[in-house]
Symmetry: C2
Subunit: 483 residues, 2 copies
Amino acid sequence: MQPVLDYLKQNQARFLAEFCDYLRFPSVSAQPQHKEDVAACANWLVAHCRQIGLEAKLCETAGHPIVVAKTPASAALRRGEPASVIARGGEPASTKRPAGQPAKSGQPHFMVYGHYDVQPPEPLELWQSPPFEPRITGRTLYARGSTDNKGQNFAHLKAVEAYLKTGTPLPCDLTFVIEGEEEVGSQSLGDFLKQNRRELQCEAVVISDTGIPSLKHPALTYSLRGIMALEITLHGPARDLHSGIFGGAVENPAMALARLLAGVRNEKGHIIIAGFYDGVAPLSKFERQQAARYPLSDAQLKKLLGAPKLFGEHGFTATEQRTARPTFEINGLTSGYQGEGSKTIVPAWARAKVTCRLVPNQDPAHLRKCVLAHLKKFCPPTVRLEISVGHGAEAYHVSPTGPLVQASLRALKQAFGAEPILMREGGSIPIVNEFKKILGADSLLLGLGLPDDNAHSPNEKFHLDCFEKGQRMSALLWQELAR
Amino acid sequence: MQPVLDYLKQNQARFLAEFCDYLRFPSVSAQPQHKEDVAACANWLVAHCRQIGLEAKLCETAGHPIVVAKTPASAALRRGEPASVIARGGEPASTKRPAGQPAKSGQPHFMVYGHYDVQPPEPLELWQSPPFEPRITGRTLYARGSTDNKGQNFAHLKAVEAYLKTGTPLPCDLTFVIEGEEEVGSQSLGDFLKQNRRELQCEAVVISDTGIPSLKHPALTYSLRGIMALEITLHGPARDLHSGIFGGAVENPAMALARLLAGVRNEKGHIIIAGFYDGVAPLSKFERQQAARYPLSDAQLKKLLGAPKLFGEHGFTATEQRTARPTFEINGLTSGYQGEGSKTIVPAWARAKVTCRLVPNQDPAHLRKCVLAHLKKFCPPTVRLEISVGHGAEAYHVSPTGPLVQASLRALKQAFGAEPILMREGGSIPIVNEFKKILGADSLLLGLGLPDDNAHSPNEKFHLDCFEKGQRMSALLWQELAR
């Protein structure tokens, strides 16, 4: 391993120059005027992968192309060990591999997932330097896409380059899947996974697209929350009514909505919808200990959010509340007159947009059923309830004590020189569920972003220590995962 | 009186032609392009008043002019009786008249208020004939301004014409004040009243600008509700937050608002704000009997409003709920994301626009204090409460058993040939409070509009029976009021 780590150390200046080349492509997947830039970025990436020794190709899709790059057969270390030494769930992974899987070397196969597309840079006037002209200040590099996600996937590419260019045998086969539609919903990825199921069959998917609390707190995210969206509309009178002429003798749909929503939660922050917590596994002592290690005090969180006072479900810490507990969140309210001054009406209808966050073991369909039953039960007969059901996704969870996660933690610890944290995150990453459903593979979320990296915001940045430590982590990871 | 009534009968065809002339002016006060039309209408009205024998003048204001027309001294019947035989509150009105009051004849003086401006006619495509080309079908006349308010004030003018042209002595002095800014908030009227306080001092103001349930149910409106407006904003986090990353550990302002609003009313429809009903006089048996005579069943009201089911404060009929009870009405809700689909945020703030309707004896300032105290008491510390206070106006009430009202009922009964109804209306007519405050005069609301007259809507209409019976009512009214 030493030649690999030395190679990484010695080539940082060149890596940085190449990283800047990668960042100069305005690969904004959401904006049609950047279609050519997205394609150019993909082509550059294929060429770069080939240059560092990978077998790379561009896979066209209905949207933006996907870059696929594999370690060549020659990169494999033939150790004569049985394939897939790391078993999942106590069952050797090799027994799960279908007959047709093209395991070149008998070594375990891992996928590295990333995306080369970026968020739109607007509003441009808030950037301190042009978003696609990388600017380095101290150890910070500013550019759109620097942390999300070019810097993070490029760190993995540089690690594999170090193996290939030093002739160090890789203890596993790797396939990089770097897509161009992550910022617009990964529309083409599902079909791509289905069409290439056999070729992509793997032990796990390594993804660096999440965050760490600080450079002193490297982290692996072992759980994500799911989601269940719905829109509640209460219809009252056939049209907005004069509140003077009719107000008092007819239900006000906005008031009915307020009462219906208020009845969902008690003063302790518990959701009192029957069945809402069905399936929610209690947090283990180990998990609560891990949550407590997250370096953000309540005072710091309050300051970060700018809220008058924190509030959450009683009996849980703020970290637990926002990552390990289900929520019923109102995302928007609409009713009646919203302009300047006042308009004296009883509005004809009132609407709330709601999303629930789900935790592992909760079934979105069951939760939806419980929420709908509650709303139907408590909606008064004075208004007509209309529910529009939105998307739903299960939470994600990989055992924090399983061998893949433990191997990742060892790599993180060596790379960052600090004890890593096992984290849950409160958001959802839909593709992780796709990897599980289509490929049967768990995801190892080994993010490299810092909390103030301004992903999706002006002045997006990436810390060069994250870049460098990320490369080391990646290099060490393959050893640990294959051990 | 017979010559007056005969004159009215004999001149309907000419009256109708003149009414159409009046309606042809597009006197839309809200639209600057119609400024000249508004002025032309005012000038026509002055000329018409002079033609029928009134002493008329145009009073310029900062906005549109006010037409003032008085009965000439010669029209007065000098009966040698003491002035102002009709006392209010048991006290002879004459004792209230300041020394400088220009009572020409020693007769009681009444004001007739109306407005010659009209609502904008838009949307034009919904009119079945051009809004300013009067169209008569059967006994219905279609035109913008026909019911609101040209037809109603013209009926009063035709009645006084009948007195003047037949040489029938009028038992009271009359001053017509017909303004041109009612549809845009009567901005200039307050100053006009203040500047002409002495000249306008009167026993009461007669206003025909409200409605009657049907031609078989003539009505006097003896009470109007007041209003108190406010805007409640709850501020949570400093900005919209990612509901995945932070949701669960921070109060959702939309939920806090729902809970705060829901806590204002109980399941019986009572407002449970301490002090909310302070001062509300219980409805007398007489008033409840009168309310019960209002010819609109719950089934008819439900159909009219298109609501799934009626709802109001328990213990009161729908008519009482919407005219004689105070309300806390949400006019609008705004929070977070309101567009298509979903946006997974904890909104930074949530807002409700609220108007309370007040009934007689309630003090808007006291009510505001009670509502604010309630909101402050129950607003959780997890959000910051911001209240923006809007306009407030007292309710209006004239004793339904007082002599002025009883006199008006006699005139209504004779004119319509049906037993009149004593009505409360749920809306507010701000000028009525101005007349009370500035002139100390009660208003007699003797509306001539039917519920389906489409005031403020396309295809506004006026029933010619309302026009004709309105003239008779006006002619008889002066006899009854002066009796």
